[in-house]
Amino acid sequence: MRLLMTATQIRGLPVVTVRGGEDVAEVRDVIYSPGAGRLVGLTLNKRGFFAGRSRDVLSAEAIHAVGQHAVMVLDESSIVTPEDASDEVGHPATERNVLGDDVLTEGGSSLGKVADLVLLVGSSGEVVGYQIDKAGGGRGYIPLPAQLSVSGDALVVPNITEEFVQDDLVGLGASVDEFRARLGLS
């Protein structure tokens, strides 16, 4: 059983230092790499009196943990300017946005369009699934392999994904391990 949350739930969370207990920023958005199957970083807003858009970013490697109530970093030095971050975090490619992209099985069936990313709570940003607007209508959740093929505006998933479409996050949490075991990934 895994505890999961969506990228939408991460937006607006405080970024808190483990060593200092201070809220040093707030999550504005996630920077996602479908090929790597994980967040590569977060864009940030300022907190408190000077609240508003911040230039600074947080690389996934500097994330201690993504939780349900806060994104944890060891200390304030984890937050850097775009110039001090890797290119994929400091200057992310706009075509990286997968929301609205088609999810196709290798056999050519469309499962729907990506509505949100699903992350593993407690990790530093591992994306284990998507929330999708199903081709036949309604919302669903699909597990992902650790890495994903991207083809134009379509994300290509293994054929067995069709058997693992879930109605809610709890169902997805229970199925991720079995899905990856079936693919021989864990």
Binding site: M1, R2, L3, L13, P14, V16, T17, V18, R19, G20, G21, E22, D23, H64, A65, V66, G67, Q68, H69, A70, V71, M72, V121, G122
Partner: protein
């Protein structure tokens, strides 16, 4: 006395804040001659000193008070509110943190600041 200034990494009380706001002063724990249920005793007024840095100024303003603080796990999940702390009155070393009905060993405290007290992963409820 209004606040305790805690060194979360050392898990001990550094100083006691006396008074509030701009008039607040500190007494280092080592300078206390007694700590009882009704009063904190000092040898004379000479041990009172003004805040020396940003951390101590934040403590004087009450921002770093541990009791009443949100408790967060290092995994980023809320554990409740820190209702009270117990400590050794001689050394100032923290012993336990009380979060609701839970008694957490002070060794689990990783950090503490104006936003939250951070506890290690062993305090995380299992999903």
């Amino acid at each position: 006395m209004s606040h305790l200034l805690v060194d979360a990494q050392q898990r001990r009380i550094d100083a006691v804040v006396v008074g509030r706001g701009k008039k607040a002063q500190l007494v280092d724990w080592a300078q206390l001659s007694g700590f009882g249920p009704d009063a904190v005793m000092v040898v004379d007024e000479g041990v009172l000193r003004p805040p020396a840095d940003d951390r101590e100024r934040a403590a004087a303003e009450g921002k770093l008070e541990l009791v009443g603080k949100r408790a967060l796990s290092e995994g980023g999940n809320e554990l409740g509110e820190l209702d009270d702390v117990t400590f050794d009155a001689d050394s100032g070393v923290l012993e336990e943190l009380l979060i609701g009905v839970r008694r957490v060993p002070a060794g689990s405290l990783l950090g503490s600041g104006s936003y939250a007290a951070i506890l290690d992963q062993s305090q995380e409820p299992s999903p």
